[in-house]
């Protein structure tokens, strides 16, 4: 049978895959996709817990409200983030992590 732990473990693996991508990849766009994946994994954990915390016989909709907010924030973050990445591309003509190394010291 599928238990809560199954859901938590699957979301944990997705989170870990995202984390690996953030550390290992060099393309800023891919890194950003991996970050979205991590946020979605966190959402899965939240929804799973919300289903198992019944309040008045229903899933806990407070947690789903938080999921709703994270999805909204993530969408806004993506819009701003991509604008910054495009602006960076215009000055550097690259989206490689190696291109952002002027700031050192």
């Amino acid at each position: 049978m599928i238990t809560l732990n199954h859901y938590l473990f699957v979301s944990g693996i997705l989170f870990a895959i995202g984390l690996t991508g953030v550390v290992a990849r060099r393309n800023i766009l891919t890194i950003y996709m991996c970050l979205e994946m991590m946020l979605s994994a966190a959402n899965l954990t939240l929804v799973a817990f919300s289903r198992f915390h019944l309040t008045d016989g229903l899933p806990d909709y407070n947690a789903q409200a938080l999921v709703f907010f994270t999805i909204t924030v993530a969408a806004a973050e993506v819009a701003v983030g991509l604008a910054i990445i495009v602006a960076l591309y215009r000055t550097k003509h690259s989206v490689d992590v190696g291109a952002v190394d002027n700031l050192k010291g």
Partner: protein, 490 residues
Amino acid sequence: MNPLNIELGLGVLGLLLLLAEPFLSSSRKVLAYVAIAGLLVALLTLITSGGSMSVPATMQEFYIADALALFYKGVAIISTLAVIIISLEYAPVLNKFVAGDNARGKEAGLGEFVSLPLFVCVGMMVMASAKDLITIFVSLELVTVSFYVLVSFMRRSAMSLEAGVKYLILGALSTGLLVYGMAWVYGLTGQMSLDGIQKALVNWKGDNTPLLFGAALVLAGLGFKVAAVPFQIWVPDVYQGAPTPITAFLSVGSKAAGFAVLTRVVETFTAKGSVIGDQVIQLLLILAGATILVGNLSAIAQTNFKRLLGYSSIAHAGYLLLALACVHQHSLAIAPRNIVAFYLATYLPMTFLCFLVLSAAKAQGVGEDLKSLKGLGHKSPLLGLALTIALASLAGLPLTAGFMGKMFVIFAATYESNYLCLALAIIGAATGFYYYFKVILTIYSTPEVETEKIRLSVLSKVMLGVFVAAIIVIGVYPDAIQHVLVAAVK
């Protein structure tokens, strides 16, 4: 009075400024003056009606207006005020990197540059009051997303964009960790509000490993925002690349708001009887020790003043974390949350002074390297003196505000018998003396090339005077701030 009125007012002011900007025929500086006036009104309202704040019943679940909240709201407003004044000094640099070559207006982007901080201010004020996970998340993200825009605001400067990308990636990473941690804390306790979580932690039966996992992730997420080691890697680069007023804002406002949230979260986790209290304190102590050490040691070798201030900001975050971790001491009359608040109150004027001088210098063609500050003390004696006082206070020289802040932290650590952290704090303070005084020596050395005198606007001069006075008054008579903190409780 409903404390939300102030936040609402500032939000509406921000909207109106954004709306007015395209239709304005006169100088964009008018917008900045309106913003400054609005913030002053907000500050006055906060001070005059501080004792009589009451939150509507429907919001009491997630919003609190206690002394701590009011204090951090004040810090948010003052920081925003200072940032807008510094922005006025910085306007020429901003214009250079925002406007295109063939459309070099005088004040490109200045309108947005002074309106967006008002929204950040709203976010920081809500953070000060937030006491459930959803409100913490939403207000924190309002601040973070605004900072993404502000850090990369100078879109024709590769440095600013690079700082923006770094802040973006690491900010989004910290958001991911925070949400995942929140999911676990919520999932195990079944509660969204910090009060509910605290009750669940006290009444917890069974193994506390899952709780620690969630708590550690939440602390990691918040650690990014306040620049605690090992989540500090973004700080030096972002501080160096971002427009100087925004660096100041990040260094004071964002950090203060982060600590407001961190104070409430840590108090929840370490409440009396909490099953994860001891481990969380251990974790905080390790973070604090590492942060003090890394911040101070890396600052020694810096040649760029902005980067140096970045590392110094990390080091100060370490002292603040150390204060936060000293929850057991009862001998000292002042609670950890008040030590943190006091420390931030002393940190605010000295940091803003440094960034004010840096902004004015940069706008008038002086670089941000330490060596380009040579001779500042001879050319502009008053400015040099103000910078000297600020740096001495950052180092923690007696009779300045910084000394009192460090002293409280060190006392708290002594009462708590955290001798390792105490030793690190003292080593850190000693190192601080070295690198801050190196800057002071540079200011008063003779330059190889003649430099121009740096001029300040009247507003900046007023700000300079007020902050220098604040440093000295708090240093000589620290009760001033304590009275504010204690009076607000009553």
